[in-house]
Every structure is written in C-alpha cells, then in structure tokens.
Symmetry: C2
Subunit: 215 residues, 2 copies
DNA sequence: GGGGCGATGTTGACAGTGGTAACACCAGAG
DNA sequence: CTCTGGTGTTACCACTGTCAACATCGCCCC
C-alpha cells in the first residue's frame, strides 16, 4: 500500500528514511517527528497520517534496523568456509557474535534504538530470520556435531546472546565506549573464544549452583 | 557546601532525592527537571542554582545509583562463606554477577540511568569500590588460586562484565523482559555456571582465532 | 464529465520540556 | 546600618508531541 504517489509520493517511506538518517546522526533520543517532517519538506502533522504517534515511527525505524542487523550477521556467516563439521559449527557461532557486534559498532544509533524501543514481542518470529533464531540454529548445530553437550543446550542461547549483547552495549554507549579499536578487537576475540571454550567444556560444578539468593 | 539551611535547606540533596524517586517510578527518560522542582515544592529554575543543566542532575542521580549497585554486590559477596580457596574464589565471582543482576532487576530505572548517561570515564576509580574493580579483584583471586590460567586473565574482566551486563540489559529493557522469574533465574544460573566453566577450562583453540589448521 | 468522498497534507493551537535573563529576597560581613 | 553574594522567583524563548479544524487532491460512481 502507499505505493502510488499521491500528493507527495510515498511520504511514509520518505519519512522512515529520513528518520533512519536522523537516528544515524543523532541517535534515538535525537529523533524528532517534527524535524523529520521538516527534513522531508513536508509540514509537521503530515506524519500523523502515516504514524499514530512518535513511537510508531520509531517502530518503523526499528524494523529497518533489524533488517540491517540480520544482513550484517548473514554477511559474516557467509564468510565461514570450513570443511570439518565441528570447526564449521564453532566458526559459525563466532561469526554470529562478530556480526552482531560489528553492526552495533557500525550503526550505534540504530543499534541502540533497536533495543530501547523494541516492541513487546521478542525476536521470536521465524527461526533463522532474526539473530535470535540464527543463534539457536547455530547452537543446535553444535549439539548435532557433538561439540556442545545436549544437557548444556538449554540456556546456552541466553548466555551467548547476553555476552555478545553486553559487549556491544558496553562499547557503544557504556563505559567501554572509549576503547581503542585494537584493544576492543582483542577483547572481542578473547570473549568469543571464551564462550566457545565454555560451551565445549562439558561438566557440571554442582557445588556452585545452589546456595540461594540472600534476602 | 550547602550544608546549612538557607532559604529552603539543602535544596540540592532534596532535589537529588526527588529525582531518584522519579527515576525509580518513570525511568531515566521520565526525569523532568521541572517536575522534580515541582515535587520538592520549589519553582523550576531554582534547580539551576545547584545543577548546571539536566545532565548534571542526572549525573548526581547516577552517583547515588552507583552507590546502591556497589551495595547490592557487596551484600552478595558477604554471603560467600567457603573454606576451600578455589571454591571460595569461584563463588565470589558468581556472587558479583548475581548481585549485579539483582540490582538491575530490583532497580531498573536506576540501572538504566547508570548506563545511558554515564560520564566519559569508566568506573576506574579505586580498585574494589566499584563493580569493575571488584570484578578485577575477584579474577585476580582466581588466578592466585590456580583456577584461572594467567594467560587467560587479560580480557576476562571484559568477558565477565559483558555477559552479566548483557543479561541484565536484555532482561530489564530488552526482549527478555517478559520472562517468567523462574525461567529468568534458571537462565542466570546457567549463565553464571557457563562463565565459571569457561574460565576454568584452560587451553586454546588456535584454529578458531586465526584461520586454518586442522584439529 | 461532474459530484462527491475519502485519503492526504496544512495551519493553528495547547501543554509540556530545557534553558536564559532580569528581578526579589534574605543572611551575614563590613 | 548598608552592601554584597547566594538563593529563589517570574517572565520569556525555542522546541517538542499531539489534537482539532480546514484545505486539497485523486479516484470512483453515477
């Protein structure tokens, strides 16, 4: 819908594109509906014919951002060229993490928007078309291939997502944002290796688990 | 400074306390300087005698939040009662992570403020008086005790911080925010165990880092 | 073709925000 | 006592999101 030019001609997509550009430049909090409208050369309030409110525009931008994130991860995934199944599966997992972080650092504004204004539903759409699904697929591969113990599979996706997301957040808007690129890259490599190692090392340490929360 | 009551009597601290309360209720983005002033029963602009701008107030709130975060982590750390040095060091690391996440979930507003508006300098003040310092101390203990290989020590603090911070963010404001508390607790346990395991499992997998070499 | 009608875009207004400037008060120093 | 500097107030500005009323344009149907 809204494919044929009316007064303006695809105002909606023009607004979204301008909004994406604004978020790129000024971050999510710098996104002003009025300024976007101004940028497109249309009066404010014109936007209200296409978006219920500011949040709706933000959601539209988030959709674009998600597409780009998936693209970045896929691009990394495609570089994995490995014969040995175990090494391949492990490399693929690392590639997902690297792509995720790569996107966060390349598009800090879009990345932040993606996770501050995300709708209620998680990424759980298909399985493989969003980073979460891709991650789950990769982890299942690791189990199939015998690298990851099936009993360690549950929860592994949360752990992997957490570590990569945390690294991204700390480096994009957190206390690590001032890191030298080389230091950052080294830390990321160390982190990804550590995760890989943690998944491969089977075994439990039951004495650590219990001991409930205080107060 | 500002200890003796003048017109109002410690307006500054009153403003900070009202701001903290506001952030608790409405989050960082709901913090309006004017509303805080109103809340204290003072005209807006009175605040400008004590804070250069809104950001200065936010920084003051962040200071309080940091104190509370440190308190939460310390409280957890104090529950560790373990004779065996290795087990004790490992438990202490887990306690830090648990306390960090506990605070994030208990005070989502303050936690988010702490990491969206944090000043340029990292937590690098003393060593032990902020979560980052405490984490480094705990990791050094793990090395001393022989659990963590010295060659794996560099970068470990970033990995640990990332995984815990990422988990907190995903659960506080991210796609995992809708998780059942029991599921969340299980995921956290799994995550902490996984990190512990990853640190303990020594050895490198060189074929992952560069590129090439069989297994 | 012409009338109408709904989708689109515009102007105007309102409340709320952060921020600046000019003024009012009040305590203590001299 | 006056004067001075810290403190708080009123008035104003630019900006934002949002609503309501009005204008315009394209398309459908008679």
């Amino acid at each position: 819908m809204t494919t044929t030019p009316y007064h303006h001609g695809n105002l909606r997509t023009a607004l979204v594109e301008a909004a994406v550009e604004t978020v790129r430049e000024r971050g999510p909090e710098g996104l002003a509906l009025r300024e976007v409208a101004r940028r497109v050369g249309v009066s404010h309030n014109a936007a209200y014919r296409h978006f219920a409110d500011r949040d709706a525009l933000v959601d539209a931008v988030a959709e674009r951002a998600m597409v780009e994130l998936v693209g970045a991860v896929h691009r990394r995934l495609d570089t994995v060229d490995e014969a040995d199944p175990v090494a391949r599966a492990r490399r693929r997992l690392v590639a997902i993490g690297a792509g995720y972080v790569e996107f966060a650092l390349a598009e800090p504004g879009l990345f932040r928007l993606l996770f501050t204004a995300y709708p209620d539903a998680p990424d759980a759409e298909g399985a493989g078309e969003d980073p979460y699904g891709m991650l789950n697929v990769a982890l299942d591969e690791l189990v199939d291939v015998g690298y990851l113990s099936p009993k360690d599979r549950p929860g592994a996706e949360v752990t992997c997502w957490s570590v990569v997301h945390g690294f991204a957040v700390l480096n994009v808007e957190g206390p690590l944002r001032g890191l030298e690129p080389s230091d950052r890259a080294a830390a990321l490599t160390s982190l990804l290796l550590s995760v890989d190692r943690g998944l491969g090392a089977s075994g439990t340490w039951p004495e650590l688990a219990p001991r409930g929360a205080p107060k």
